[in-house]
Amino acid sequence: MDISRKSKPTASQIIFITLFLLYMIIPIIATYVFSIATRWDRSILPEGYTLQGYRDAMKNPYFLITLKNSLVLSFGSVLVSLLLIVPTVYWVHLKVRLAKPLLDILMILPFGIPGVVLALALVQVYNFAPLNRSPVLLTSAMVVFTMPFMYRSVSNNLEAIDIPTLTEAAQSLGANTIDILVKVIIPNILPGILSGSLLVFATVFAEFTLARLIVGAGFKTFPMLLVEYTRKDGTIAAGLSVISFTIAWIVSLLILWVGGKGMKTSQDVIKAH
């Protein structure tokens, strides 16, 4: 009957957590193994290992094209997202605090827009040149779709830093607006900007539905290539998965690292309240 803070976890709870972790991690590990396995349908462990899948994947002329397309799309979305969100959020935080609840609501809406619906709507509405089925339209869709991530990251970071007071402190020390922005504001919301950018990057890089429905074969992305291969060659598909997952993984680690740094510098201001 005791729920005190110090009691030890019971065995059942340890088993529970372990199963839970395995359930999440096994398929990922299996994909890594599968991508270098020669044959793996007759035994518990693969019969041999080879990098042939990767060699074959890279031989495909579309490998570099789709990789490039996906990178361009991801970087483009991050850039547009930054230009749209950061000034808006900063401005709302500094000057029109009352608009913040409204923006909070607006920024949860993309979670409620099914990707399929968004793609369809965009294709229907912007069906004129040069927008129709163009990478530009896809980028717009990606920006809307990933907006909550960028908004939350930047907004939480701004929330943690007491921007108006820091601005006044800098002013009282003789700083003009440009000094304040460059030396005080931007360095302090950099963790939010970076972690937002990385989240947007990872999401856009992995996004399949929007890309397929909006631009289709005209602008093939890496996940599209991957799906194509799932029908043709499991090993190559696994190899592509590993590449995609590794990129996503690196980005995730960067998010955590940057987020951690942001946390640390924000503590100063948080503790002050």
Binding site: D162, L173, K183, S266, A272
Partner: protein
Amino acid sequence: MAYLSLTNISKNFENVVAVKDFNLNIEKGQLVSFLGPSGCGKTTTLRMIAGFEIPDTGTIFLDGVDISNIPPNKRDIGMVFQAYALFPNMNVRENIMFGLKMQRRPKDEMIRRAENVLSLIRLENTAKRYPHQLSGGQRQRIALARALAIEPRVLLLDEPLSALDAEVRVVLRGEIRRIQSDLGITTVYVTHDQEEALSISDVVVVMNNGLIEQVGSPQEIYRKPNTRFVATFIGTANEFHGFVSDSSHVQCDEINIYSTRVGKLATGVKVVLLVRPENVEIYDQPPGRDTQNVFEGKIDTITFHGAITRLGINASGKIITADVSISSRAPVTHNQHVWLSFDPEYCQVMAE
């Protein structure tokens, strides 16, 4: 003319009066406190001196020059905030040098100056640390050092100790006063803590509802409050409601109190008479005939506060608070029958 002078300053926020017709002269080197409850306009006034708010009417003169229209970053005024407002991305030394960098001072001068102010606040060994690695008290000292590094003409402190623990608060206010005296820097100190204002200031400006209630030395404010607000906001006081019965007496319910502080109040005017607990004398025997304002009572509560003991004395139904010091030899007991007297000189009288 005074060094810093505020004349006819008013400020409204969306039809709410924040500050009304504020006039004050501050001499060079003085430490002046703005004291009052939250919303009294003290912080708004400070922010107008800093330039973060623009007065609706009135003028602010610094060293004879009208600074009302100078932007905050050109006023040469140092500011310390309640929330420290250290730049989290810079270490202590960089924080302190920020203002000097803005002034484009030579590098070696910046470093020397940073070392000077760090030794002033006795935190030489923190130069390389980041704000989040410091305690609240250390952060506020660094904020003070940062404001002092630019050698401002006026130092403004906006409730600098409110976020700190009681103990740190007492130590740090002593240090602020020491540094301010040593540097002789004109200082405006905003606080809602009367003890802080009394202990640190040359001049206290008591504010309420956007208006100045009283300006004076801590002693004046404490001993001769002009208004009932000042008398009750600062320190504790026993209140007796009644009316002036003659030029030196106030009739309160059944009892008639002799006071030398009735002043020019006309007979019959409704007044409140205030006596501070430390001005209530206690006797275990009836005092001599020449003692004024003697009443009988019974000790109701005894609260020990260390150097003093606070008594609640029931005098015909009214509880009168009296502080007795540790050196008063007679021990007191619950329900003890005692006599008490008020020195007529310490009976403040003010119209209700």
